[in-house]
């Protein structure tokens, strides 16, 4: 089997919302926990008390659980309110499993155009075939995690 991977296209979503870029940015980041479908996608499910978005480069995005535990989703790579942010994305896993999420906000007519790009899927495939001893968070672990998430739905 070849180790070369074809590029896996990023997930793109775009929408226009009826509010200012400032407000849209704030809702997407600081207020993430108010609209995020935690039952559909999270680590702790109904044990979650809040989702924290640390608003600076290097900041963490994580869940707080009712037993005092935490579950990390990723880290801020770029922080440019209200225009865009970029974060790594590895809920429940080692950061070496990270994909990347970029969200851009731009004024359009009376509202804000929101462009979302979730990319970097190749890293999962590369990890899948990489020989590296001592590396515990394997590929099956990634998918196993999603199994747990989905069986909760």
């Amino acid at each position: 089997m070849s180790n070369t991977q074809a590029a896996i296209a990023p997930v793109h979503k775009t929408m226009v919302v009826a509010c200012s870029p400032e407000r849209a940015f704030e809702v997407f980041t600081r207020e993430l926990g108010t609209w995020w479908p935690l039952g559909m996608y999270s680590i702790g499910g109904d044990r979650i008390t809040e989702v924290v978005f640390e608003e600076h480069v290097g900041g963490r995005i994580f869940e707080r659980h009712d037993d005092g535990g935490e579950g990390e989703w990723g880290r801020v790579l770029a922080w440019e309110p209200p225009a865009r942010f970029v974060m790594t994305w590895y809920p429940g896993h080692d950061s070496s499993q990270a994909t990347e999420l970029e969200v851009r906000f731009a004024a359009e007519d009376d509202g804000t155009r929101v462009d979302l790009e979730h990319r970097g899927w190749e890293i999962l495939a590369e990890r899948a075939q990489e020989a590296r001893s001592g590396y515990d968070a394997g590929w099956g672990d990634v998918l196993g995690h999603y199994t747990r998430l989905l069986t909760r739905v």
Binding site: Q5, V17, A18, R23, W121, Q129, E130, L143, G144
Partner: protein
């Protein structure tokens, strides 16, 4: 959806261990069985489930069967997120367009 089948298949700890052992590249079934606390027929059975779920590929090398990770499974994960974001962003829109003041 293909990803759902894949995720069901990975609900088993032994199958996850097999997938982790295939991360280094394709391997024959005997080699996998030697590293796992289950019998070779059991490993073969698990590999069959993983193959039917689209997670591994199988090829013959003489009398041996060699198993490897199927990268398409990654594409299925991507597809899962594609539909996930559709729904999540509907919630985002409702929140962004609500009259609620900043705190």
């Amino acid at each position: 959806m293909a990803y759902a089948t894949a995720m069901d298949a990975l609900g088993d700890a032994t199958r996850r261990q097999i997938m982790e052992r295939l991360r280094g590249g394709p391997r024959p079934v005997g080699e996998l069985a030697a590293e796992l606390p289950v019998s070779r027929p059991a490993v073969s059975q698990h590999l069959r489930v993983l193959k039917e779920a689209g997670l591994v590929t199988e090829r013959k090398d003489g009398t041996r069967r060699i198993y490897g990770v199927e990268p398409k499974a990654i594409a299925d994960l991507r597809a899962y997120f594609d539909s996930f974001w559709e729904q999540a962003l509907a919630g985002f829109r409702a929140a962004a367009e609500s009259e609620r003041r900043n705190t």
